[in-house]
Amino acid sequence: MLLNGSEIIAECLLEQGVDTVFGYPGGAVLNIYDALYKYSDRITHILSAHEQGAAHAADGYARTTGKCGVVIATSGPGATNLVTGIATAFMDSIPLVAITGNVTNDLLARDSFQEVDICGITLPVTKHNFIVKDVKDLANVIRKAFKIAMSGRKGPVLIDIPKDVTGAKFEYEPVKPETVENELLSQEADFIMAADIIKRAKKPMIYMGGGVVSADAEKELLAFAEKIDCPVATSVMGLGGFPSSHRLFMGTIGMHGGYETGKATDNCDLIITAGARFSDRVAGDREKFGKDAAIIQLDIDKAEINKNVRIDCCILGDLKDTLKKLSDNLEEMKHPEWVAQVEEWGKNSEVTETPESDCYAHPYHIIEEVRKLTNDEDIIVTDVGQHQMWVSQKYRFEKPRTWCTSGGLGTMGYGLGAAVGSAVAHPERRVVLFTGDGSFHMNLNELATVRSYNLPIVVVVMNNTVLGMVRQWQKLFYGRRFSQTDPHRKTDFAAVAEAFGIKGMVIHNDDEVSEVLAKAFEGTEPVVIDCKISPDENVLPMIPPGKTVDEMITEME
């Protein structure tokens, strides 16, 4: 049938099973928005307050559903406002398709109004990007974009479309989307080699990451870990990919990971890495990381092999397949002494809760109380900073895709947008956003979106009135010279919430925590809770950058 470019976009989105998109209209996407008007019975468009919020929302949607997120923005500033969101998704391997309008073909390259080379700008933060200058290419580019975003190591793809292309007519024929089948790149011999190394190991550990969640391989990982009786540490990105309540679960590994994961890393004889990438926040000292251990790495991205840490054996392919195949090559194993040793270390790593002061609420207490009010399906979103690390240490995740955090890029201001996307994807679930006063200040404009769509999001602002994480580093490494980390803001977050039409609450001290939270969780209305915490709270333990567990900081004055 003969359709215009914008209708072709809508049809192609439907082909891909897209029923929800996030975005913000503008001049260069007027045609697209006209088509969205026409297709509004089949495609729900969620309007954000700012394009960045829309990008994070599409990201949160993708993380919590496993589907590809879609975000639409206009040319120029609309497109550049997406960049942080796209980069966030890129660093965490989250599948997104970003569609931007651009000026018409005849105005391109003339510095026209709201013209920007968004393909050039996003080149280093996308898996691939396209500019579609001819309507005849449009449908196939969109199909290709989804395939690229969803295959192999997932990630964002951008499609830039000049305005005349979205208006031009072309014949459209529906095409059934190709199913993504990730090729198994490793040979039988690699599995046999890996299995041999595992059989010889006396003190193995698993270091898992976001790849397990991305591949929906949580069951395979659980079966594998149980079969070889092997303790599991996770990167922050991997949380939810292994049940926190499981006897083999150690918690997070790295800079703010537990004592036992650090000790296990240094004392184990084998590290089996699944869908993780030895980032500097995990392997602070690349030379000493797992220095006495053999390392097996399972990943879908060959470029992760030997990138940061030299490994002994790699298995390349979809974790769902490779973990199962590796399991099949192994008999049941038992490592009772080693598991007991790790448990023993675990006892030492229980961070004792010593509230800084009675005048404030304590972060761990808040997180634990929230956990009591949520079920395993509820979605936890964070911003970036101290609160993010406290949540990653303390919140007990049981299910995959219940956790949204900017792990790689560390994007302050990510949270509220991502919470919107998660809530839109799962209207039946509760979404809790833990944020800090610093992060929340960045993008709290999306409270408008929360209200417009009446999303059941509980926003817990851990308000210490300072930029806590940077301040903590200033305390440790910059002689307590608190340069620009105390903004002296007087923001009343509860009043801000009320101004947006959202219920605002305050927790002044530890005694109020359970009562106020219980009230906040009563209904399904959105609510913002301003939790007063001490500016001197620290995230502990902490392995200083570039160091190992031997130099772990467990106490700070």
Binding site: C119, H128, K302, A303
Partner: protein, 165 residues
């Protein structure tokens, strides 16, 4: 110096593919000293030939290049089973005294004289990069006024081709 690795890249002939490759080289800090682009002799494809200086970067270089959607193949051309060649134009300062010496030197390298100026001679030479390096060194005694080199073109010897599966 000969331990430098030459890498052949088969890329889709799409606009922006050179930018994707060079942007990756810069972003990942790969240390290269030659990059050439040419038709690949296969419809829709171009061939890039890149020389990388750092042994330890070769594995990552190949793996990262293969992540670019427009890169179809990236392979190290085996040092002992490849031919590598480069074209050079060089303008050398001359006077009556040096003219014959210069012509002697260049003819030893099979360089051909392509232009005679009042106080200069311009030669065209081709050869392996290291042969050209030596010629440049010899001519620099007389004074090199201008120099242009094409960068390396390289193919694996024998029947094997980069495009082979």
């Amino acid at each position: 110096m000969e331990s430098k690795h030459i890498i052949g890249l088969l890329v889709h002939n799409h606009p922006g593919v050179l930018l994707r490759v060079t942007s990756l080289i810069t972003r990942r800090g790969f240390n290269i000293d030659s990059l050439t682009v040419s038709p690949a002799g296969i419809e829709g494809y171009s061939r890039m030939t890149i020389r990388i200086n750092d042994d330890s970067q070769v594995e990552q270089f190949i793996n990262q290049m293969m992540k670019i959607v427009d890169v179809k193949k990236a392979e190290v051309l085996p040092e002992t089973a490849s031919v590598a060649s480069e074209l050079m134009l060089v303008k050398v300062r001359t006077d009556h005294a040096s003219r014959n010496d210069i012509i002697d030197v260049t003819s030893a390298y099979h360089a051909s004289l392509v232009n005679i100026g009042e106080n200069s001679l311009t030669f065209r030479a081709s050869g392996t990069p290291s042969q050209l390096d030596i010629l440049v060194r010899e001519l620099s005694v007389y004074g090199i006024l201008e120099l242009a080199r094409t960068g390396i073109a390289a193919l694996e010897t024998g029947d094997k081709c980069l495009a082979d599966e």
